[in-house]
């Protein structure tokens, strides 16, 4: 039988449809989804939708330098004569890449460690994992990421590695809290009595009950990670010019304030729109799942 005709799949598909219906009734989350889709679309098709795709990198045209917003250049041009609108579209690529790569690297180990520590609550496994987590959480992730970036050569890749290195403990702590209460539920005890394997209990019994919290946190974290990434580039420890990173663009443009305000302001607005989109979706998910702890 094809997998989409199986009753289990049907049941899940129905609950997804119900969830989508509730999600789509919340104007806040729909607006968030719109922003995220818009930004993703512009990022994915940047070479085709940007009016001057060649302006993304090393490009100089001093005859059109520092022009205010006009029909030809809706966001104006920077001191090298590059179209800021085009650079913002390419900048979305770096912001989204930052968020996606960091979360892909961070969520699996963070969640597994949290599951282990929560399930073996009170044993040495719990102690070792959670005390290490405490150490990482002792200082804000931005500062630790800055410290790591400072010893590496500044680049987009190293910034992503630095943020990832500092971000996993948040998932460990979230899943630890959930897992250590779920492990006392009857269905977990039933599975234990039935002789289910440890991995079955961790990943098939406990993990599915944490998924809604994890997804909600991921959505909110996309925003945070993008903010931190742009902060790293802003101080010069992340992406380097001429990379069209939004944080780098704000830092460059800040030198020409207040006269050429458009160089810094539009990339800053682009960061805000991106972060806002993910935050609104996160809030919508939190309402949808009726979560409190994320």
């Amino acid at each position: 039988m094809a997998f989409w005709k199986r009753p289990g799949f049907q049941r899940r598909w129905d609950s997804v449809k119900r969830g989508w219906y509730k999600f789509s009734k919340n104007p806040v989350s729909v607006v968030g989804l719109f922003f995220v889709l818009l930004v993703s679309f512009l990022a994915a098709f940047a070479p085709y939708v940007a009016p001057y795709p060649e302006h993304a990198g090393r490009f100089v045209n001093f005859s059109e330098a520092s022009q205010p917003p006009s029909l030809k250049h809706p966001f104006g041009t920077d001191v090298f004569g590059r179209d800021i609108l085009s650079r913002v579209f390419f900048g979305f690529r770096y912001s989204l890449m930052m968020g996606v790569v960091v979360l892909l690297l961070v969520v699996p180990p963070g969640v597994v460690l949290g599951l282990l520590a929560g399930y073996y609550r009170g044993t040495w496994i719990d102690t070792v994992i959670m005390r290490i987590t405490d150490v990482f959480l002792a200082v804000p992730p931005l500062i630790l990421a800055l410290a790591v970036c400072s010893v590496l050569t500044p680049s987009v890749f190293n910034a992503m590695m630095a943020v990832s290195l500092m971000w996993w403990p948040w998932y460990t702590r979230l899943v630890y809290g959930l897992a250590s209460s779920i492990r006392n539920e009857f269905f977990v005890q039933a599975a234990e009595v039935a002789g289910a394997s440890r991995s079955h209990i961790l990943f098939r019994e406990i993990l599915p009950n944490c998924v809604s919290s994890i997804f909600t946190k991921m959505s909110l974290d996309m925003g945070w990670v993008i903010l931190i990434g742009s902060s790293l580039s802003f101080v010069g420890l992340g992406a380097q010019p001429p990379t069209p990173d939004l944080g780098t663009m704000v830092a460059d443009g800040a030198k020409y304030l207040p006269d050429q305000w458009w160089i810094a302001v539009f990339p800053a607005l682009a960061i805000m729109i991106t972060v806002l989109g993910f935050n609104l979706i996160g809030d919508g998910l939190r309402d949808l799942f009726a979560l409190e702890e994320v």
Partner: protein, 342 residues
């Protein structure tokens, strides 16, 4: 007694965390690639000079020996020499930390007071235009990087309207009050130097507000949701039914318990505030610890970087203990000594 025991227990845990943090930051600064000595002396320094300095800093020894030297130094208040300023890092910290603490405390006060105020008003009048305005403000506050606020305020109120100064802690004509605490406002207050106090506060407004807005938005959101939830609870109706004066209902029965979630995230918000100070101090040219830290990072001044991270770790340990005490004071269910969240 209970309070003392609680604080002692937390301090003991914190020492462990700080010990771990020292290993972490030591590993980050020594294991990752890059040659700090070569960087400090420049590419043209002769090999023997580099070798000498390496031996001086024990960089030629195995890692655990290096860590031993570093930790025993740190415990004696010697955090090594800054590779860049060539002064003991401890002296730099003593010089720069008060300026940042002053800014952070001021920003923290703004954040807590206005965040709670906005949230309380929005929660009390939920789903009215007041609530919607606060909600929009909160979203803007949460999604805007603090460096963007800093740049915008600098532009708008500093350069365009000229309401506030754009850099530094005091105007040129005003002599600095004698450094007792190192915090200009506090020193001015102690010595009764009102002109300096006013001027220092005036310099602090823009950087402090840019730092506070993000956390303020968070606090407002959380306070709003707890207040509007609690407003619907039976005990509020009961208090009103008994004829308790409305003001008392609002302040004692509604506000006080609603502040518990807000207070618990105050510590986190203060943390992100200090992290953002790294960017905001740079923009406002605030001669503080964070600007020192970020410059150390940009110059790969490893001793200074490790020291900055360790000092911030200590600050957070203290802040978190204070926050826990406040939460315990607000919530009678959390008896001191019992673990939170149970």
């Amino acid at each position: 007694m209970k309070v003392l025991k609680f604080v002692a227990k937390r301090l003991l845990m914190s020492i462990f965390v700080l010990f771990g943090l020292s290993i972490l930051i030591f590993l980050v600064s020594r294991v990752l690639p890059g040659d700090p000595v070569r960087m400090a002396l420049g590419p043209r320094a002769p090999e023997w000079a580099v070798q000498n300095m390496r031996e001086q800093m024990h960089l030629d020894k195995p890692l655990y020996v290096q860590y031993y030297y570093w930790l025993s130094g740190a415990l004696h208040g010697d955090l090594g020499q800054s590779l860049f300023t060539r002064r003991p890092v401890m002296d730099d910290i003593k010089e720069f930390l008060p300026a940042t603490m002053e800014l952070a405390l001021f920003a923290g006060l703004i954040m807590a007071i206005f965040g709670i105020l906005l949230g309380a008003v929005a929660g009390r009048y939920s789903n009215t235009w007041v609530d919607n305005t606060v909600r929009i403000f909160s979203y803007v506050g949460v999604v805007t990087p603090s460096f963007v606020f800093a740049i915008l305020f600098l532009l708008l109120f500093g350069y365009l309207l000229r309401w506030f100064p754009t850099a530094g802690r005091l105007s040129a004509g005003i002599p600095r009050p004698p450094a007792i605490t190192g915090m200009v406002t506090l020193d001015a207050l102690i010595t009764g130097n009102w002109a300096a106090l006013g001027d220092a506060l005036w310099h602090m407004v823009l950087p402090a507000v840019s730092l506070a807005l993000g956390g303020m938005a968070q606090e407002a959101r959380i306070t709003r949701s707890t207040i509007s939830d609690n407003l619907r609870k039976d005990y509020i109706g009961a208090a009103r039914g008994f004829g308790v004066p409305e003001r008392l209902v609002m302040l004692k029965y509604l506000l006080k318990p609603s502040l518990i979630p807000t207070a618990s995230i105050l510590g986190l918000d203060f943390a992100s505030l200090l992290a953002n100070a790294f960017l905001v101090e740079l923009i406002f040219n605030w001669p503080g610890f964070s600007r020192y830290g970020i410059n150390a990072m940009l110059r790969k001044d490893l001793n200074a970087v490790s020291a900055v991270v360790m000092v911030l770790g200590i600050v957070f340990v203290i802040v978190n203990i204070l926050v826990d005490l406040v939460v315990a004071g607000l919530d009678p269910r959390i008896r001191l000594g019992a673990e939170r969240g149970k």
